[in-house]
């Protein structure tokens, strides 16, 4: 049977898609760009956590992930 991807990878993927669509995170162009993207992701996570009045950590915690999984409007939360 197929092997399920590690849970952490799935979480990162959800967060990256969410922040790309709604918080202007640039799409990851290559492996070399990964560090820059992670830095950008932390900034976007802080923006998102501030908007939703979550604890601002810049890290993908369970509370932040739960908000990302909620059904929502597809319009960005910040001016785009």
């Amino acid at each position: 049977s197929p092997i399920a991807p590690p849970a952490g990878e799935d979480r990162e993927s959800i967060a990256e898609n969410y922040l790309t669509q709604l918080y202007g995170l640039p799409k990851q162009a290559s492996f070399d760009a990964e560090k820059r993207v992670m830095s950008g992701m932390s900034l976007r996570l802080k923006e998102m956590q501030q908007f939703f009045r979550l604890k601002i950590t810049g890290k993908l915690d369970e509370e932040t992930l739960d908000v990302m999984k909620k059904p929502r409007c597809g319009v960005p939360d910040v001016a785009a």
Partner: protein
């Protein structure tokens, strides 16, 4: 509340809307009624008035689509993004698109209530951005509310009246 940065508001009060297609989840009459009432939510508190047209280009074009529906902002299948709408400007501005991979409903908590989703999207169509107030209609995440007792929350009233002023008929 928050409004789009820039001068994103309609320069007229008489706006038109057109329903381009329908979801199979509800009857045509149910969709028509949900859309009409969702616009009326905003008309009740502003000078804005909405007239339905059946052909040609309306200020607010309303459609149901899935995945890549050719506006550069593809939907993502069931759940996740339910709909989106563009702020007021000529062309695509004001238009509201609903993800037809969702299950929309008329008067039940099952599925996503089309009236509630549409009322939120029309807030964008008129110039409102997302609100940080969890009780506001313009909060970005979907929350079911009893539509029989629905009243536009104060935050949304303040937001839309900051753009268009109050309803002169009230």
């Amino acid at each position: 509340y928050s409004t789009f940065q820039g001068d994103y508001k309609w320069k007229k009060h008489a706006l038109t809307y057109r329903i381009e297609n329908y979801t199979p989840d509800m009857s045509v009459a149910e969709v028509d009624d949900s859309i009409k009432r969702a616009l009326q939510v905003w008309a009740d508190v502003t000078p804005l008035r909405f007239t339905r047209i059946y052909r040609g280009t309306a200020d607010i074009m309303i459609s149901f689509g899935v995945r890549d529906h050719r506006d550069g902002y593809p939907f993502d299948g069931p759940d996740g993004f339910l709909a989106h709408a563009f702020p007021p400007y000529e062309g695509l501005g004001g238009d509201a698109h609903f993800d037809d991979d969702e299950t929309f409903s008329y008067r039940t908590p099952q599925g996503y209530n089309l009236f509630l989703v549409a009322a939120h999207e029309f807030g964008h169509s008129l110039g409102l951005e997302h609100s940080q107030d969890p009780g506001a209609l313009m909060y970005p995440t979907y929350v079911y509310r009893d539509i029989d007792t629905f009243a536009l929350p104060h935050d949304d009233v303040s937001g839309i009246q900051s753009l268009y002023g109050p309803n002169p008929d009230v």
